[in-house]
Amino acid sequence: MIEQMIIAGAGGQGIMLVGKVLAESAMRENKFTTWLPSYGAEVRGGSAFCMVSISDEEIPSPYVEEIDTLIVFNQISLKRFISFLKLQGLLILNSSLVSSNINKKKSKIISFPFTEIAIKLGDIRIANMVALGVYLKQKNILKPETVFKTLREIISADKKSLLEINLKAVKEGMRIG
């Protein structure tokens, strides 16, 4: 098994974090994993993406071009990466910011207004975690408990209030996904 994915959006939407949580959770489940960020002169609001691979075997290239899953948080990212998605790949869209009117018939398209859901949950910044929850529900690659454990460890003790809302967001994503 190898799962290759791209998570893309704007700088500040928590794109890198979703990827890191997935990679760290994969590591905790003793899988092989790589995480490769877009890097350079990156800015808040600019384009941001990361490439994540999870596998039972050694991963050849951390740079991926034929992906199983694409998670996009803004319109530009969809345009940029849709051609990377395999014929029957999974596309997860943030319909608050992305028009889901796309011509990719054989792909499985899952679309939710992540930004609006996040605002309702109490913090716009957790849209990324709602999407993560949807992904966990859609693909049975990582155990949700592992992801919760990862979040508990990477969110430091002095930001305990953020932990709760992040966990809540992932759970909400799993519920609707």
Partner: protein, 363 residues
């Protein structure tokens, strides 16, 4: 809390490896894609009560390393391609002074200021000297995050053993990507981020170091020899050392080469991709293998000498336009066919491109 494995970037793994290998002095100047290494050292070296300096330039940083090394400390600097070009004068001086030092180059696309994307186009510069004069740095090419960490121990040990600069040659992908790292060395002081600890290595005092000459005759470290005969003698000494290094220190990895008809030759990130190709084609019973040079200088000639008698095609794959290719051709000496696939300027030869190339060889 003790953790067996951590998720860490290549840049940070190199930094932590250096610290655990006993690096006491770091000087550097920021440049993408190795910035996380400088940032990591800025934080961790102070925690360890060692020395970190953000120098005013790359030239300054390499000369600070020369100074620290003269005094017997394990010293290192890091940069990316354009910055490494600036350091070449200092590296030549290190080689002439026979001073150990570790230099990390996380390569980006050139020539010139180029851009920040990954490349392997500094191979010539790294392996053929780079600066002026007849000298070589020992060059190690890690291919994953585990090696990025582990090779730092080897790098400092080789530098001290031969009193010679050692270069770690990686690319932007290796520096930026994260992968699980299994920590082998744990004891000593705590770090806050990953609960990492430092191995308390007892390093031997260096008999040649400048430590103050009270009650002994002065040690002299220099690269200026005004008499013609003197500098020739130094060169002969260096050549003798390089011969020993060539005999004893060449390292490589072989993947399925014994019955292979096509043997790819690739290093660093490119070798990972090639390894995936070997696996894919072996499943279809294609006789394909891979030689991955681990030391780029000394180049692992011996493995080519061993297998060259047979009718095989070597396929050199690089993220550059035929640099390691020349070393492969020198090692093969016309005894086998050598083919090439390469892309530069941030382009990476992809699995599909490699498969097409192999198919075109019609074996």
């Amino acid at each position: 809390m003790k953790k067996e494995k951590i998720l860490i970037s290549g840049n940070e793994a190199i930094g932590e490896g250096a610290i655990q290998a006993g690096c006491f002095f770091y000087a550097g100047y920021p440049i993408t894609p190795q910035n996380e290494l400088t940032a990591y050292m800025a934080k961790r070296m102070l925690q360890e009560k060692r020395i970190f300096i953000q120098a005013e330039s790359e030239v300054s940083a390499i000369n600070m390393v020369l100074g620290a090394s003269s005094c017997g400390f394990r010293a290192m600097t890091s940069s990316s391609s354009p910055g490494i070009s600036l350091k070449q004068e200092g590296i030549s001086y290190l080689a002439a002074c026979q001073l150990p030092a570790v230099i990390v180059n996380i390569m980006r696309a050139g020539p010139g200021l180029g851009n920040v994307f990954p490349a392997q186009s500094d191979y010539f510069q790294a392996t053929k000297g780079g600066g002026h004069g007849d000298y070589h740095s020992i060059v190690l090419a890690p291919s994953n995050i585990q090696e990025a960490f582990d090779f730092m121990f080897l790098a400092f040990d080789l530098a001290d053993k031969y009193r010679n600069p050692v270069m770690i040659l990686g690319d932007g992908i290796l520096g930026q990507m994260m992968e699980p790292l299994r920590l082998s060395v744990v004891s000593g002081q705590l770090s806050d981020r990953y609960n990492l600890k430092t191995k308390n290595r007892k390093l031997k005092a260096k008999s040649w170091a400048l430590t103050g000459c009270k009650k002994r005759s002065p040690h002299i470290i220099r690269s200026l020899y005004l008499k013609q005969k003197e500098i020739e003698e130094l060169n002969l000494l260096l050549q003798k050392k390089y011969k020993t290094i060539k005999q004893k220190e060449s390292r490589w990895q072989e993947v399925d080469i014994e019955d292979a008809k096509v043997i790819m030759v690739a290093y660093g990130t490119m070798a990972r991709i090639a390894k995936g190709v070997v696996k894919k084609l072996r499943e279809k019973n294609k006789k394909i293998g891979l030689i991955r040079p681990i030391t780029l200088w000394p180049f692992p000639q011996r493995v080519f000498e061993r297998i060259c008698q047979r009718r095989i095609i070597f396929l050199v794959i690089e993220m550059s336009y035929g640099q390691m290719l020349e070393d492969v051709k020198l090692a093969v000496e016309g005894r086998a066919k050598v083919e090439f696939l390469g892309r530069g300027g941030g382009g990476i030869p992809k699995e599909q491109e490699i498969l097409h190339k192999i198919e075109s060889l019609k074996i």
